[in-house]
Every structure is written in structure tokens, then in C-alpha cells.
């Protein structure tokens, strides 16, 4: 379970591209104590209303640039650090997005600081409304 604030409660939304709803997005903070390069983010897992989202359908947006989780593996530039205490945007590609109304989400983050013999795992189930 996450100890710190995890989601931005007001950031759950559908994502519209060229007039089509292509997915949904939300904002999360890292559950660690310093900023990190995206290259040490091992995984962001999303389960929405009981449905597990495939890894390739998850995007992270930091400082105006969007990366797939696969791309994150090589992102080390200071411009795109996941800053301590700052939200980053997670976008889930899902045709049609989410229906208006109540939803249940569980997001899991896995971060691998070099000095630790294990990864930091944190998740946070939450209810929200679109």
C-alpha cells in the first residue's frame, strides 16, 4: 500500500484525439524520496474496473513529452525526471475511454533505485468519477 498521496483526485479524464476518445489519463506521484530518471521505472501497471491493461498501452508524460514504458528504459535526461512530490501523467490507450460515471482503479508502480537489492513496489486502489 502507498504511504503518500498517490493520485491527483481531480485529474481523471478521458483523452480525446482528433475528436475520438482514445483512452483515459490520470496523474500519480512516485512513492519514493527523491527524483528519478524514467529509466529506473520498471513498470506501471493499471487495472481499471477489474480489467488489466497491457504494458504497451501505457504512456507516461513528463514535462510535455510522452513515452511508452519501453521507451522509458532509456530516458535519462534531466528534463524528464520524475520529480519528488510532482505528478506525472499516465495515459492508458483504450478505445472509447471510460463511460461517464463511477470507476475503480488500481495502479501499481515499480521503481528500481540502483543501490537497493529490491525494487520499490507501491500500489493504490481508488474510486473516481468521470
Amino acid at each position: 500500500m502507498a504511504g503518500r498521496q498517490f493520485y491527483n483526485p481531480s485529474a481523471f479524464a478521458n483523452v480525446v484525439c482528433d475528436g475520438n476518445v482514445v483512452g483515459f489519463s490520470f496523474e500519480i506521484k512516485e512513492q519514493y524520496y527523491r527524483s528519478i530518471t524514467l529509466s529506473i521505472v520498471r513498470d506501471i501497471k493499471v487495472v481499471i474496473d477489474g480489467e488489466a491493461i497491457a504494458r504497451e498501452d501505457v504512456r507516461l508524460t513528463v514535462n510535455g513529452e510522452t513515452f511508452t514504458l519501453e521507451e522509458c528504459r532509456t530516458v535519462i535526461d534531466p528534463e524528464y525526471r520524475w520529480e519528488f512530490g510532482e505528478f506525472i501523467t499516465v495515459t492508458v490507450m483504450k478505445e472509447g475511454g471510460l463511460a461517464a460515471g463511477k470507476h475503480h482503479i488500481d495502479c501499481h508502480q515499480s521503481i528500481a533505485p540502483s543501490y537497493m537489492p529490491f525494487t520499490i513496489e507501491a500500489d493504490c486502489p481508488a474510486d473516481f468519477e468521470i
Binding site: 500500500m1 502507498a2 504511504g3 503518500r4 498521496q5 506521484k29 524520496y33 527523491r34 527524483s35 528519478i36 530518471t37 529509466s39 529506473i40 520498471r42 528504459r73 532509456t74 535519462i76 534531466p78 528534463e79 525526471r81 520529480e83 519528488f84 512530490g85 528500481a112 533505485p113 540502483s114 543501490y115 537497493m116 537489492p117 529490491f118
Partner: protein, 352 residues
């Protein structure tokens, strides 16, 4: 022997207020000064955005030194993180790691820090490869000695051998006072109680900890495979027997969690500080919960300060409040008050 024990605050202590945006970097410095501390310790990667770019910027450095002047603070220690596994498919080469270490030494120096804290995961040859540059920049590298590690151990011997062999005056230790815990912190115990642990199971763990303290901890060995070293250390200190006893008493996940967490604390003889004083450049004065009467729940402040006085320590004791991690899931964390109390506890011990 004459001593000059100064007080510092690691801004790590204020992480909850920073995370929740109640304090920014300047706010942390302001709070530090209010406690009477004269030193400040920084995790640049925690509180400086777009690390390390601003440190390269003269305007930022002017602001930084302006704050230090305004609040009457001097830089004590820069906490570095050697991200030598920055890519998931390989460890950086020795040259790459030395380059990263030298970058951090340079950044520390640019912000005025005389000591750089490095972590136990830093390979010995990376430290050795950075010594010449550290000397050139006037920044001493201090290896953090954090539980489960300890001074006067076969783990520390490897580093002492390197110090002796090279004759360096720019590598030594930064002991973390979590290695001087007489008992498990109350905030840890209370967290597990809130999460369903049974008092009788916690007592088994507390008794085992007391026994480890009384008998003396079996010390950890040097191994860059930290997971392996840690597991051997736990087994040598009776982990299996303790876990079995907790399970036998009907312990569930919270009880076993408390049992596991007991290994994140340890007890060393404060004499270890006296024996190694020539190589102690800075101290993380770890604290978990300092009560209204200025008694810290677990760390042996009077004994440790007494040892430093005897040894003639000239340097900082830097408050590193970490109790928040046991509270934040359930309560608001008041790091400001905890740091204030801990600084007062240190002041009384130093001046008393």
C-alpha cells in the same frame, strides 16, 4: 580531548512537508535555522528540480549561497546516489561510474559541501578511482554506515585496508545513528499494531531484539551482492527462529512484517565511534520519534554524544528524521516539530 560537535539538519527530514508542498527548498532552510542548527545537509536529487542542471547555473548558486547567508547555515554534507544501474540491461562500467562519482563530487563542491555521502552499494574501485579528484576538489567521500552495516566489522575492514593502502585523507565513514538503536522505535511498533499485529507477537520480536543487543549483533560481511549479504546477516542473527516463534504464536502478516522490520535497526557499541574517529567525517543523527521530554524512542543519543566527546569529534551531527514513514499512511507527519525536538535533544547532550 577537545571536541567541536556541531548540529546540522538533513533536509531529508522535511520530505513529507516538501512532498505535500508545505515547504519548498528555502522553507526547509528557514526551518533548519529555527532549530538552532548551523549546518545543512542536502539530497540534491530530492529538492532540486531537473537535477543536476540548476547546480551548473550561476544564478541558482547565487540564490543558494544567498539563502545560506540569510539563514546563517553552512553546508555540511551532500548526499549522492550513484545510479550505476541507470539502465535496466547493464551496470555502468567502472569508468562510467567514476565519471558519475566525480560529477557528484563537483556538484557538491559547487554548492559548498565539504563531505559527500556515498552509499554502501558503491564499489570499492569506484571510490578509489575518485579519490584523486575528491582531493583536488576538497570534498571528502564518506561511506554511509547504515544498519545492517557496522564499523569494526569484516565489512568495514575492507575499506580500512584501502584507506591504509592509499593513505587517503579523503575517504572515510558517515555513521547513521540507526546502528545505535537500543530498541525498535515505538512508531514502528504502533504502526504494526494499527495494521492488525498482536501485542504478544510483537513482544516476541522485542525480546529477540533485546537479546541481540545483549549478546551483540553478528556483523554483516562485505559482499556487493547486498541482498545475499543481508540475508546471511539476518539468518546469523536468528531470523528463522524468531519468525517461527511468531508464527507459532499465531502471527499474521502484520506480526511478520514487524519481525522483518526489526532487522532495519541494530545496536553497535559506541566505542566503535571512538576507535574509528579519524575516519568519521559526518554523522546522520537518525531519529524516529522524539517525545515532548526530548527523549528519542530508540537511538542512544547520550551514549553516542558521550563517545564523540571522548573521541574529540570535530564535525556535524545531522538530524535525519525518518519516523514519518511509519505515520504517513495513517496520519499527517509533523517533521518540523520532530526535527525541533531532536535538535534540542542533541543540544542538551552536547552542551550538557
Amino acid at each position: 580531548m577537545s571536541y567541536d560537535i556541531k548540529r546540522s539538519v538533513s533536509l531529508y527530514s522535511y520530505q513529507d512537508e516538501f512532498y505535500n508542498k508545505q515547504l519548498d527548498l528555502e522553507g526547509c532552510l528557514r526551518e533548519t535555522a529555527k532549530t538552532g542548527a548551523t549546518g545543512v545537509e542536502l539530497l540534491a536529487e530530492q529538492m532540486i528540480r531537473k537535477f543536476p542542471l540548476p547546480i551548473e547555473d550561476e544564478a541558482f548558486r547565487e540564490t543558494w549561497f544567498g539563502w545560506l547567508k540569510k539563514y546563517g547555515l553552512q553546508p555540511s554534507c551532500y548526499d549522492a546516489f550513484l545510479e550505476n544501474r541507470i539502465y535496466d540491461n547493464r551496470t555502468l562500467t567502472l569508468k562510467e561510474q567514476v565519471k558519475m562519482m566525480c560529477r557528484d563530487i563537483r556538484l557538491a563542491s559547487m554548492l559548498g559541501f565539504p563531505v559527500l555521502r556515498t552509499l554502501v552499494s558503491t564499489p570499492m574501485d569506484v571510490i578509489e578511482g575518485s579519490l584523486e579528484y575528491a582531493e583536488k576538489m576538497g570534498v571528502k567521500i564518506g561511506l554511509e554506515v547504515h544498519a545492517p552495516f557496522s564499523l569494526n566489522s569484516s565489512w568495514a575492514d575492507g575499506y580500512m585496508e584501502m584507506i591504509t593502502r592509499t593513505g587517503t585523507k579523503f575517504f572515510g565513514f558517515v555513521p547513521d545513528m540507526g546502528i545505535f538503536c537500543k530498541n525498535i522505535p515505538d512508531v514502528t511498533r504502533e504502526k504494526f499494531l494499527r495494521h492488525g499485529a498482536k501485542p504478544e507477537c510483537l513482544k516476541i520480536v522485542d525480546d529477540c531484539y533485546a537479546e541481540r543487543v545483549a549478546k551483540g549483533f553478528v556483523k554483516i560481511k562485505y559482499d556487493l551482492n547486498l541482498g545475499k549479504a543481508n540475508m546471511e546477516y539476518r539468518l546469523a542473527n536468528g531470523m528463522n527462529e524468531m519468525m517461527e516463534a511468531v508464527k507459532k504464536a499465531g502471527g499474521g502478516p502484520a506480526d511478520l512484517g514487524y519481525a522483518g522490520s526489526s532487522f532495519t535497526y541494530s545496536w553497535s557499541d559506541p566505542q566503535d565511534l571512538i576507535d574509528n574517529i579519524d575516519y568519521i567525517y559526518h554523522v546522520h543523527a537518525k531519529c524516529y520519534n522524539t517525545h515532548e521530554d526530548y527523549v528519542e524512542t530508540a537511538t542512544a543519543i547520550p551514549e553516542v554524544v558521550e563517545a564523540f566527546k571522548k573521541a574529540g569529534y570535530k564535525g556535524f551531527l545531522s538530524t535525519e528524521y525518518e519516523g514519518g514513514e511509519h505515520l504517513r499512511a495513517d496520519f499527517d507527519v509533523d517533521s518540523i516539530e520532530q526535527v525541533r525536538r531532536h535538535q534540542e535533544a542533541l543540544r542538551r547532550a552536547i552542551e550538557g
